[in-house]
Symmetry: C2
């Protein structure tokens, strides 16, 4: 920007210099590494951080191998409102599997779900939702589950945006992921969502390979089925990669402390606290959903992606609140 | 080789051609991607496999992202005889921590270990060993454990080889790992050993970053300690990444089925069965410790790294048995 101003204030009488300046400005514009981000505190902080950790002459230089960036998924990389995508997938699977489960007609919360009584489903709380997830995500091989999830994600649309759920992803985050990788970062998803539900889309959507996805998981069992070795998904929750589980998941899967963490709800606080507690330059970001027109506006009292304590603590802890409405030039690709 | 023969049988009267042929032969020799491997069935099978999956015109071509290679650790990448290195680390920690644990003087198997009664320690079996591992690997932060493991690995020598345990690694496997990576493979450790015990050395020893190490793990807990967020290692086993646990660990951590798997004991059978059960070209290898002079000779009746059923099943299953004595030109770097 400085270069552009200087060139413009130079001798405009000279056509050559004027054209040269325009050329430089357009190059400078094209080279904006975060084109879907508006100029502002959040964008500046990201650019400053990446420059600091990648500049070999900086006291904050970080070796490429240690440039680990972690992103929450629901509400951080893709839409989570009005309901987490994976829960909707589980609801659809209850309807699909109902003929094989006559007992669901008389068992809550399955009964309510099949009758469209969403109030009762909601009242079953996290316990009820987990029962639905466990029942619909188990009793099949790993390959069969991947097929089911991929098929659903490739065909089911979000009601507000008339796009596939799998396409309700945020362009500014795609910019950021690409920018980080271009600067030697390894990018990971660290989500409370099911690890195997995200993997079929992680590479295509975000350029994040399956082995860089960390998430919650059920218990799996290695069995020989029909003469072929296979992984069978059991009806039991294994690890919950949420809240205080996120730093644990990072420890187990990645084995290094990230230097950048990006979330959007109070469930991401521990991941960001853990990230920030290391030495040297670090950055922790929360996406604040403030854009009722282009996406949704929700925070403290939302039933999904509650952002409350983190908003209060952000200032004192040096966390960056990214304001979707003001900081993002575009929302979707 | 053909080129060398042809050049030699050509006009040797021409000094130029002779020198040119020598030059080509030396290039061909220098370019052997597995210089520590003797020519033989195992080396040929590896070279054939890598050519097949990386040749774009081959029906067996595999996209780089799917080129996942997994290696067991103990007895496959480094020495496991006469006792698994991590168990020796745990034994040393019992001695170091004994002053803080007066109860160990009267509790087995700690009492026997402190008295040097290894027969009784051995008789305590896997249960006793696990008690020792759990007691010595918990009650500290992740960073403290990493420090303890790194320190021990940097200072403790193997009695037979007069080298650090961390340097008792196999040169032919370093060749193979480098060759695979040069051909677009992503290399992983998939071990029954503790994930956090291997990580401090995985990058330096094998060029395998911590995030590509899969192993057994204890339960960890995220806590704020002395005002600083930290991961505390709890006295509880979390996941056992051994035998049928290995394909499960691969599923959870990597999320793709490997196309190459290398182990050395019956505990690796399920990992190799899982690898081989996918479509297309795949290769499963077992290292057979047959070299009492340069390393050790053990298999069916060994107390560590038992290789028995896999030896019987290898022929029918198309697994490759790598004979250390005959297939490896060198053992250590």
């Amino acid at each position: 920007m400085k270069l552009c101003n200087r060139a413009k204030s130079g001798s405009l009488a000279s056509g050559f210099i004027g054209i040269f300046a325009l050329f430089l400005c357009s190059v400078s514009y094209a080279a904006d590494p975060l084109p879907s981000w508006n100029d502002g505190t959040a964008k500046e902080a990201i650019l400053y951080f990446v420059n600091a950790v990648t500049d070999k002459n900086s006291k904050d230089f970080v070796e490429p191998a240690e440039r680990i960036a972690v992103f929450d998924h629901d509400g951080t990389l893709w839409v989570e409102y009005p309901m987490y995508t994976q829960i909707l997938f589980a609801f659809d699977r209850v309807k699909k599997l109902a003929p094989q489960h006559p007992e669901w007609k008389t068992t809550q919360p399955f009964k309510a779900l099949l009758e469209g009584d969403m109030k009762t489903v909601g009242e079953s709380g996290m316990k009820g939702l987990m029962e639905i997830v466990v029942a619909t995500h188990s009793g099949m091989t790993a390959a069969e589950f991947e097929q089911e999830a991929s098929q659903w994600l490739a065909t089911t649309k979000h009601p507000k945006f008339d796009r596939l759920y799998s396409e309700c992803i945020y362009q500014p985050q795609l910019d950021l992921l690409a920018y980080l990788r271009a600067n030697g970062f390894k990018t990971f998803i660290v989500s409370g969502g099911g690890i195997q539900f995200m993997r079929p889309i992680s590479e295509k959507n975000y350029g994040i390979p399956p082995e860089q996805v960390v998430g919650s998981s059920g218990v799996s069992d290695f069995q020989v089925k029909d003469g072929k070795p296979a992984l069978i998904r059991m009806p039991k929750i294994g690890f919950v990669n949420d809240k205080a589980g996120k730093p644990v998941g990072i420890y187990e899967h990645i084995g290094r402390r990230p230097i950048l963490a990006f979330g959007n709800s109070d469930s991401d606080m521990q991941m960001i606290e853990y990230t920030m507690a290391g030495e040297g330059q670090r950055v922790g970001l929360f996406l604040h959903h403030t854009d009722a027109d282009r996406e949704y506006a929700y925070d403290r009292k939302s039933h999904v992606g509650t952002l409350d304590k983190a908003l209060d603590q952000a200032g004192a802890s040096g966390w960056i609140i990214v304001d979707m409405k003001n900081d993002w030039k575009a929302v979707f690709p």
